[in-house]
């Protein structure tokens, strides 16, 4: 089975999004100003954290060998009250506009779409993987 769109794809997307946000931060501080750049960065970090928790929740709960109940409860207690309350307070920070926050939050999905599009355009999923090569019969 090909490993391209396996769970590793999500980890690679998260890493790429973090790098994109870190690269954006100095340019945003210079060109957009302190608060818009920080708003985009905070929105992006919040989006990454949200995705990490969704991913962990799905991996812990929906698996073939049954859910890990303690871990699921711990993740839910962290994600739903704490993460959403922090998101609410991010929206309520007077210096942060809503638009940069949403733009930062959307960065993750933009990266994910571009990565998937890149795979599609370069036809990386169609290429034969090294471990899948079958020696030709003589």
């Amino acid at each position: 089975m090909k490993e391209n769109l396996d769970l590793g794809f999500l980890d690679r997307t998260l890493r790429t999004t973090g790098i994109v946000l870190l690269i954006f931060l100095p340019f945003g501080l210079y060109y957009l100003g302190v608060f818009p750049a920080l708003a985009v960065f905070s929105g992006g970090v919040w989006g990454i954290l949200n995705f990490v928790f969704i991913s962990a929740l799905v991996r812990t709960t929906f698996r073939a060998e049954g859910p890990n109940k303690h871990r699921t409860v711990a993740l839910m207690l962290f994600k739903f009250p704490l993460l959403y309350v922090s998101g609410y307070f991010l929206l309520k920070v007077p210096q942060f506009d809503v638009l940069p926050l949403v733009a930062g939050f959307t960065t993750l999905f933009a990266v994910m779409t571009l990565k998937a599009l890149g795979r599609l355009v370069l036809a990386l999923d169609d290429k034969e993987q090294p471990h899948e090569r079958v020696p030709k019969a003589l």
Partner: protein, 77 residues
């Protein structure tokens, strides 16, 4: 009915509809993923990946609806 009254009626309705829609969509997605994992446990990695991406996108849409709610909330007098 004036603009303020219409907005104060439409905003909670909009967020409610978004929540109902995302709840139905997420429920359908999880149900189908569970069926697929039950049928093919060896493909659970790929199914989980698709499910996580789908769940994140559905949740993002609800969050966008909530953000629009907070943006428009200030316009209710």
């Amino acid at each position: 009915m004036d603009y303020q009254a219409m907005l104060s009626w439409a905003l909670p309705m909009g967020v409610g509809l978004a929540a109902v829609g995302s709840g139905l969509g997420l429920g359908r997605a999880v149900g189908s993923a569970m069926e697929a994992i039950g049928r093919q446990p060896e493909a659970s990695g790929k199914i989980q990946t698709a499910m996580i991406i789908g769940a994140a996108l559905i949740e993002a849409l609800t969050i966008y609806a909530l953000v629009v709610f907070f943006m428009m909330f200030g316009k209710i007098g």
